[in-house]
Symmetry: C2
Subunit: 195 residues, 2 copies
């Protein structure tokens, strides 16, 4: 029942239908009380929906294959992140809703750790400077990507502009972290071409 309601909410979100208590339970056979027994109320439901969003994102990132090029793999995570957001923009907006407490999204930590590990690997394999702080660079990388994706999802930037802007930003951040510019650019562009 929990999963049924969460998935129905995600679908209504994707269909741009307003997710209200009564509209959510309609057709499920359940009554409005189901939301309170399982989630404690609408805020709890939204929290579960965000969890679901982060879980789906984690699944996408986990599906990114590991290749011999750690910088390529790092960028491939960003590409997967962007595709996940653009495939379900309403869910992405719900995940980062202004009035949401992101602290309740444990799955968010898992996805971020995946990014930190990818940075650490690129450093350990010599592509990035040994002085690189994986958490700091991952945060910069995530923030820049999140900023770009948010502006696209919100309609400020055209979707077609995302790839070139993200490419430039990724190259800038990674070369500043010590990667060799030409090699970096090749890795980044290959990741975007593959995604």
């Amino acid at each position: 029942m929990r999963t049924l309601l969460v998935e129905r909410a995600a679908r209504m979100l994707a269909d741009r239908e307003p997710v209200t208590l009564r509209a959510l339970v309609e057709g499920t056979g359940a009554s409005t009380m189901a939301v309170y027994t399982h989630f404690g109320g609408m805020p709890g439901l939204w929290s579960a929906v965000r969890q679901e969003g982060f879980t789906r994102l984690a699944g996408r990132l986990a599906a990114v294959p590991r290749t011999a090029d750690p910088v390529h793999d790092l960028v491939a995570l960003g590409v997967a992140y962007a595709r996940n957001a653009l495939d379900a923009p309403e869910l992405y907006r719900a995940m980062f809703d202004a009035r949401a407490d992101l602290a309740d999204a444990l799955a968010a930590d898992a996805t971020f750790d995946r990014l930190v590990d990818a940075v650490a690997r690129a450093r350990d394999e010599g592509r990035l400077s040994p002085a690189t702080d994986p958490r700091a660079l991952a945060t910069q990388y995530w923030a820049a990507g999140h900023g770009l994706v948010s502006l696209v999802v919100q309609g400020v930037l055209p979707a077609g502009g995302l790839a070139p802007l993200a490419t430039r930003t990724a190259v800038a951040l990674l070369t500043a972290a010590g990667d060799e510019p030409d090699r970096c650019r090749a890795s980044v562009e290959r990741a975007w071409a593959a995604g």
Copy 2:
């Protein structure tokens, strides 16, 4: 009456009071109809509040002095942007609310143009590569800053972490655009120290 209601809404936002139709007009002597005669409804009010937010931001950016160092001035705009957001986080969240149509915020264009001009000046004065596309770099710069500020406003990143992360990102973007690394770092850090 328009400005009175908008400013009251901004103040309620800052005070973390829920901005509802009845709560907004209470104490102003006006009735709920005032919102409909002046704004056409609550969405219109929110649009006006966002306009007000962008106007205040434009005022902050306009107050940033022009110095002899164009890269310093560019970063100073970013510092002013961040300070504006952190001084009124609820207003910032309303400005970039997920369900807001940012197209109605004409003042947003003005603030972005200010950033584009600063990039163009840095290029024309030889600090950045002549091949630099001011709009593209300004967009990268804004997206990265917006991403970082959003995460801080949302409580994901601690406020104290903003300056070092923004510094690193700014240096990465500007050196990738052709600025000399040491000189760039000095300009960036001076701008953060001054702000």
